[in-house]
Each structure stands twice: as structure tokens, then as C-alpha cells.
């Protein structure tokens, strides 16, 4: 085994010819590195600039989407409140105690929520009256069991009656957003953002327990925030 010794190394390096070729080549290559380094720096700085631009443009897109979509969600909330405090709705709900009374007034109620739907972004408005197990949509009104049968036959629904009825039940005085395709009748099966709101006890006292479902179509919402439709903002 050859032992390493500095003297041996020194001797070797002394006897070897010290050509300037290596030094020259090294110096020239070092000079060559300068433009390469410059280009690498330019590349990475460009990459960072592009990244910032992506984030910036995305932020603008998101801000636009936020404005548009929040406006729709807010309008759904406003519409739910408007329906709740609508005199015609309140009259029916406060003054009637039997399903027969509601059936007599159902035409008026359908017309009412139909009008609300047509003036909003909602695709469906559905009202479930717990006490009499009765449902109202923008086109029809009937007992939940009959409505479920219709959904099974015409909308190919696979959800059973109890499960559907359970999903329609809401604690009194609550409101929330859910993503569901069950809380509608006319547009049943379509994925939608649903604003659910139950009747407020303070407003309706001991009247019927009612749940209101306003469905906003997800695809329509997404399309509303379509970046290509909005185009490029004028400035950052």
C-alpha cells in the first residue's frame, strides 16, 4: 500500500511540465461562464416574473369571480328572506293550519315562488312544509310521497322517500349553504349550490315548520366567472 506523503506529491508536481495551456483554457472557460451565468440569471428572473404575473392575473380572475359569485349567493340569501317576509307567503303560513287550506292556496304560492325564481339566478325554489309533509316547487305542489314517486318515475331518482324527507328537514331558525342535487324538484339531480333556510320562529310563531331551498346551478356560477368571458383587466 502506497502511503501518502506531501513530499512525494511535491516531487511529482515539480518534475511534471507546467504548461500554460491548462491555465489559459481554464481562464478562457471562466470567461465563458460569465454569459452563461447571465443567461441562467435571466432565465430564473424571467421565470419568477412570469410566476408573479400568473399569480397577479389569477388574483384578478379570482377577485372577479368572487364579486360575481358572492353577488349571486348574496342574492339567494336576500331572495330567501324576501320570500319569508312576503305577505302572501306569511298569510298562507300563518293563517292556515291544515293541509286543506294550503292546498287551496297552493296555486297562489306556486305563482309566488315562480315569480321569485324568474327574477333571480336560481334554477329552482322548493318549499317543504314539515307539519303536513307537503312540498311546493315553482311548477307543482303535492305531498312529499307523491312528489318522490314523480321524481322516481320522471327524474330516475334512486333516493328513497325517507332519506329525501330527512334531507329536507332542517332545524328551526337555521340557514346554510350546501352543495346538493337533492334539494330541488324541477331541477332535481342537477348539482347546485343550495341555500337552505328554515322558518324563523320569531317571525312565524307557532305556524307550520317550513324549509326553503334555493338552488343555484354550479355550472352557471362557474361560467359566470369565466375568465375568458371577462377578458383581461385593464390594469393590475
Amino acid at each position: 500500500m502506497i502511503k501518502f506523503s506531501p513530499g512525494r506529491l511535491f516531487k511529482i508536481s515539480r518534475t511534471r511540465q507546467r504548461s500554460v495551456l491548462r491555465k489559459w483554457a481554464l481562464s478562457y472557460l471562466l470567461i465563458l461562464i460569465i454569459p452563461i451565468v447571465c443567461f441562467v440569471i435571466v432565465y430564473f428572473s424571467t421565470s419568477q416574473v412570469i410566476m408573479r404575473e400568473i399569480i397577479s392575473s389569477n388574483s384578478v380572475v379570482l377577485k372577479t369571480a368572487q364579486n360575481t359569485l358572492d353577488n349571486r349567493l348574496h342574492s339567494a340569501e336576500q331572495m330567501a328572506t324576501a320570500i319569508m317576509i312576503d305577505e302572501r307567503f306569511r298569510d298562507v303560513m300563518l293563517k292556515t293550519n291544515s293541509s286543506q287550506d294550503i292546498i287551496e292556496k297552493q296555486g297562489e304560492l306556486i305563482s309566488l315562488i315562480y315569480n321569485y325564481r324568474t327574477t333571480s339566478y336560481a334554477i329552482d325554489i322548493f318549499i317543504y312544509i314539515h307539519d303536513i309533509d307537503y312540498g311546493l316547487s315553482t311548477t307543482t305542489a303535492n305531498r312529499i310521497s307523491l312528489l318522490h314517486e314523480a321524481l322516481v318515475h320522471y327524474k330516475d331518482s334512486v333516493i328513497d322517500l325517507d332519506s329525501w324527507r330527512e334531507s329536507l328537514l332542517m332545524p328551526t331558525g337555521t340557514a346554510r349553504y350546501t352543495v346538493s342535487n337533492l334539494h330541488a324538484y324541477d331541477e332535481f339531480g342537477k348539482a347546485a349550490i343550495v341555500y337552505e333556510k328554515s322558518l324563523m320562529p320569531s317571525l312565524f310563531g307557532s305556524c307550520n315548520s317550513v324549509s326553503l331551498f334555493i338552488a343555484l346551478p354550479i355550472m352557471d356560477i362557474a361560467r359566470a366567472a369565466d375568465p375568458s368571458r371577462h377578458g383581461a383587466p385593464a390594469s393590475r
Binding site: T15, R16, Q17, R18, S19, V20, L21, W24, A25, Y28, L29, I31, L32, P35, I36, C38, F39, V40, V42, Y43, T46, I50, M51, E53, I54, I55, S56, S57, N58, S59, V60, V61, L62, K63, A65, Q66, L69, D70, L73, H74, E77, Y177, V179, A191, I193, I218, M219, I221, A222, R223, A225, D226, P227, S228, H230, G231, A232, P233, S235, R236
Partner: protein, 543 residues
């Protein structure tokens, strides 16, 4: 800002970070819960593609909006940047490599070839040592060695050259088979005295070792042989080696080495005299021969040539004889050469500052010294002529006014007093010339004359004056200010006010008329100028 990219997907996320709605791509069910809370720029890998994610929470519902932009797609769309970067990178690399190769080729190859050449030349024992040395070291060592050898060679060459001269002279004296008009010896012994080329035809040197001049006859034979050779050259129309600056004069320089060659010294006058006659008759050339004092070594030749030069100058001045011996001039004259130079410097300085009295005082001292030397008149005249020659050389611009008649007058004088009188006239002429030159060159005087002539002209202006003396107004204004320290307009006003004052002393005329008479267009301007220069009003001056 860049336009919103069409590849950007807009996602709707529920409160758990699950995507429940997407537009621009199928991202339903995607779980972005891990990315949603990061504030920095995040990327998300989905189906092998990287996306830049940006989130924004809804202010109404429990949802989050997200924008996903595929990075690669973005880059592809902006491939120009990428292309430029890549092309630039590649170009830099390729050009750099080529440049590196060329530089190495250009710089290293000659170095390597030089070392190889040196190695080949020095192959064998004691050859070039390259181990442990760079190419530079090898070449530097070689050059150092070469320089050392060259230095030795040069020393050898100098010794050889001296030896060659010695041998040549030996041959000349011993064998008489060569003459000093040969080009190599002419080059060796050539001395140029301010354009006067003195051609040596024979130089004798005492060399104690060789005892070259053991016999008197050898010198005589050598001299005759040299003269014969020169004549042969001239007969063959080879004038060039013998010509001086004067096309019609051939000057020979002749140096003797030992005084004891009395017989030769005596005969040389007759030989050279005949030679001069021969030149005049056959070639229409004036041959002037100067025989120097002897020198005992070739290194002392320049000193001898100095004396010969002085003698030559004298000979030209006197034109008395064709053959002149330096020894005919006294020892005093040789020492006086330096005195002449000192006097020449003093005179030049005096002439330069127009100190005529000083110049004449210097001339007096010079002639007093000449008289005290108790030389023969010819030597005295030589010194005067030498002083004149020095003045001509040093102050050629002032002395250019001297004509040949003045110089010839020096030759006509027959005693020291007459010589001094002529020389004083010459010095006075040079001083006067200096004054005239200065006067003629004075621009301010011309301007002043013009102003004095035309001060009454209301339209007198710098342009008008400049046009009159044919110079540019700017130049005239600047030079006048430099020469007089006063602006031209100030000078014009001063002259006008002076003239006005003179008129006011002798005439009783209205201010308006007076102003117009001295070149002012109105009385107001005149009053202002008068008050500025005199400090009082014209009326006060008159009163």
C-alpha cells in the same frame, strides 16, 4: 400584466377544501385542503402536470375560489422567452467555446511551436530543459541566454571593429594597398560637423606595440598611394564619397600622427598643392585640404577634427590657400574656440533682448581679448569669423538679414580696428533687425494707428479695424487685450476722450458738435463716456 391565460381553471371549493365545481378543466373531487391555507405561491401536481394555485375565500358563503394555471402550458404559450433564453444560452456556449478554441489556437500554438523549435535546436546533451517549466519560462530563459550571448557578441564585435581599423591602417601604412576612401572606413571614421562632411583621406596612428611607423618612407608611399587612388576614383567620375555640401568643393581631411615625420610634413604641402591644381584643372573642383595636428590614437581623432573644423571654417573665410595646417594656427586659437562660443552666447542673449549697448560692450571685451592675445592678424580674423559663424548658427532668424557683402567685408579688412568696425556694424544691424521685427509684428500698434486715424468715424468698430488689418475681429480683440491689457472699445473711448479734451482746450464748441467731432453719435453717449474715463462731466472739465 399578462393576459389571463385561457388554460386557467376556475374552481369552487367547499369548506373542506374539496372541489365541487370547476370550469376550464375536470377537477371535481380534487382535494386542495393542504394548499388552501398557504399564503405563498403554491404549486399543485395533478395528473403529471404542475399548476400554480391561487385561492380566494368567498365573503358570503363557506366556499373558496381557486384559480389553477398550468405552468408548462403557460411556458409553451410564451415560448419566445424560452426560445430566446435557450438560443442565447446555446449561442453563448458555442461562441464561447469557439472563441476559447481560437484563442488557444492563436496564442498557444506559436508558443508551443517556439518551444518545439528551441527543443529541436537544442536537442542533445546540454540542451533545452523544459521539465518543470512553462512555455513562458522556457522562452524567457532562452531569451535571457540569447541576450547575454548577444551582449558578449557585441563586445566582441566592438573589439573586432577596432581591430579591423587597426589592421586596416596597418595595411594602409605597411602595404599601401588600400585607401581610406573605402566605404567601410569612411563609415568608421566619418564625422559630421553640423552638416559639413569632412572626408578623411589618410589617418596615421601611433601604435607603440606594432610600431607601424618605423620607417618614414612607408608613410610617404602610403600617402602617395592614397592620393593616387582618390584621383583614380575621380577620374572614374566617382565623386560622391568626396563631395561636401558644396557641390563644387571637395574637402580632404588629413591627420598626422607623429611630429617627427618632418620630411613627409614638408612634402605634403607640395603634394596636396599639386592635387588642388589638378582638381581645379581636370574636374573643376575646388579642393581644400586641412592638415591636422598629430594624434596618437584613433580615439583622439574627434578632438583633432574639432580643430580641423575650426581651421576649415577659417580656410573658407580666408580663401587664401588650398592647404592649411592646423599647426599654423597658434595654440591660443585652439583654446580660444571656447571663448568664441562664450562670447557668441552672450551676444545672442543681448541681441535677443535688444540690449544694443550690452552687445557692443561684449564686442569691446572680445576685441580687447583678441588684441591681448598678440596673435597674427590672420588668427585674429579667424576668431572674428568663427564668432560670426557661431552667431549665424545660433541666431539664424535674426542673422538672416545679414548679406554676404557684410561677411565678405570681414575678409577685406586688413587690421583689427577695421575688423572691429565691420563687426560692430554687423551687430548693430542684427539688433536693429530684431527691433524692426518686433515692431513689425506688433498688432496693437497697427490697431492703435487705425484707431488714431479713424476715431472721428461714428461707425468705427472692431470689425472695421480687423478688416483693415486683414485679421478676424475675434483674433484682433484677443491679441489687443493680451498685448495692451486693455479692451479695444476702452482704447477707442480713451482716444476719443483724449481728442475731445484737446479740442475743448482750444475750441469753444457745443458738446453735441464736440461729440460728433470725436466720433460719438450724440452728446449723451459722449458725456457718459467722458464721466466714466475722467470722473467728471465735460462741462466741469471745461469750467
Amino acid at each position: 400584466m399578462l393576459p389571463i391565460h385561457p388554460g386557467t381553471a376556475l374552481l369552487l371549493l367547499d369548506e373542506k377544501g374539496q372541489v365541487f365545481g370547476s370550469f376550464g378543466g375536470d377537477f371535481i373531487g380534487l382535494d386542495l385542503a393542504a394548499q388552501i391555507d398557504t399564503e405563498t405561491i403554491t404549486t399543485y401536481e395533478h395528473q403529471g402536470e404542475a399548476y400554480v394555485c391561487t385561492f380566494m375565500r368567498s365573503e358570503v358563503g363557506p366556499y373558496t375560489y381557486a384559480a389553477l394555471t398550468p405552468r408548462n402550458l403557460f411556458w409553451k404559450q410564451n415560448y419566445t422567452i424560452m426560445a430566446i433564453t435557450v438560443v442565447g444560452f446555446m449561442s453563448a456556449a458555442v461562441v464561447g467555446l469557439i472563441m476559447t478554441f481560437l484563442l488557444l489556437q492563436h496564442n498557444y500554438t506559436p508558443l508551443k511551436k517556439t518551444v518545439q523549435m528551441l527543443e529541436e535546436k537544442k536537442a542533445g546533451p546540454g540542451g533545452l530543459v523544459t521539465r518543470g517549466k512553462s512555455e513562458y519560462d522556457v522562452i524567457r530563459d532562452h531569451m535571457l541566454e540569447l541576450y547575454t550571448r548577444t551582449d558578449d557578441m557585441m563586445n566582441d564585435f566592438t573589439r573586432q571593429r577596432r581591430h579591423l581599423v587597426d589592421r586596416y591602417l596597418h595595411d594602409l601604412l605597411r602595404n599601401g594597398n588600400r585607401h581610406l576612401a573605402d566605404e567601410d572606413i569612411l563609415e568608421s571614421l566619418h564625422i559630421d560637423f553640423g552638416g559639413m562632411l569632412l572626408v578623411p583621406i589618410a589617418v596615421f596612428i601611433t601604435n607603440p606595440r606594432d610600431n607601424l611607423l618605423a620607417t618614414k618612407g612607408s608613410a610617404k608611399i602610403s600617402s602617395a598611394f592614397v592620393i593616387e587612388n582618390v584621383l583614380n576614383d575621380l577620374l572614374e567620375n566617382q565623386y560622391d564619397p568626396y563631395k561636401t555640401e558644396d557641390d563644387y568643393t571637395v574637402t580632404f581631411l588629413y591627420a598626422l600622427s607623429e611630429k617627427e615625420h618632418a620630411a613627409f610634413d614638408t612634402s605634403i604641402d607640395a603634394v596636396l598643392g599639386r592635387l588642388c591644381d589638378f582638381f581645379r584643372d581636370h574636374f573643376n573642383l575646388i579642393l581644400r585640404c586641412v592638415v591636422s595636428d598629430p594624434v596618437d590614437h584613433i580615439d583622439k581623432l574627434p578632438g583633432a577634427y574639432h580643430d580641423m573644423n575650426a581651421a576649415y571654417v577659417y580656410q573658407i573665410a580666408s580663401s587664401e590657400q588650398s592647404v592649411l595646417r592646423v599647426s599654423q594656427l597658434s595654440e591660443k586659437r585652439i583654446a580660444g574656440a571656447m571663448v568664441v562660443n562664450d562670447y557668441a552666447h552672450l551676444l545672442v542673449e543681448a541681441i535677443a533682448i535688444r540690449a544694443t549697448a550690452d552687445a557692443l560692450k561684449i564686442v569691446d571685451e572680445f576685441f580687447v581679448e583678441l588684441g591681448q592675445a598678440d596673435d597674427m592678424f590672420r588668427v585674429q580674423r579667424f576668431n572674428v569669423f568663427a564668432l560670426t559663424s557661431a552667431l549665424l548658427n545660433m541666431r539664424c532668424d535674426q542673422a538672416c538679414g545679414l548679406n554676404t557683402a557684410m561677411i565678405d567685408a570681414l575678409l577685406d579688412d586688413q587690421n583689427l580696428a577695421a575688423l572691429k568696425e565691420t563687426f560692430v556694424r554687423m551687430i548693430l544691424f542684427m539688433c536693429q533687425t530684431e527691433d524692426e521685427i518686433r515692431q513689425e509684428d506688433s498688432l496693437s500698434d497697427k490697431v492703435k494707428q487705425a484707431v488714431n486715424r479713424q476715431y472721428a468715424d461714428v461707425n468705427l468698430s472692431l470689425t472695421q479695424i480687423a478688416r483693415e488689418i486683414k485679421l478676424s475681429p475675434k483674433y484682433v480683440s484677443k491679441l489687443f487685450k493680451i498685448e495692451t491689457g486693455q479692451g479695444l472699445l476702452d482704447y477707442i473711448n480713451a482716444v476719443r476722450i483724449q481728442k475731445a479734451k484737446e479740442r475743448m482746450l482750444h475750441h469753444e464748441e457745443p458738446i453735441q458738435k464736440l461729440a460728433e467731432a470725436v466720433g460719438y453719435s450724440n452728446a449723451k453717449t459722449f458725456r457718459r463716456a467722458f464721466r466714466k474715463i475722467e470722473g467728471i462731466n465735460p462741462g466741469q472739465f471745461r469750467g
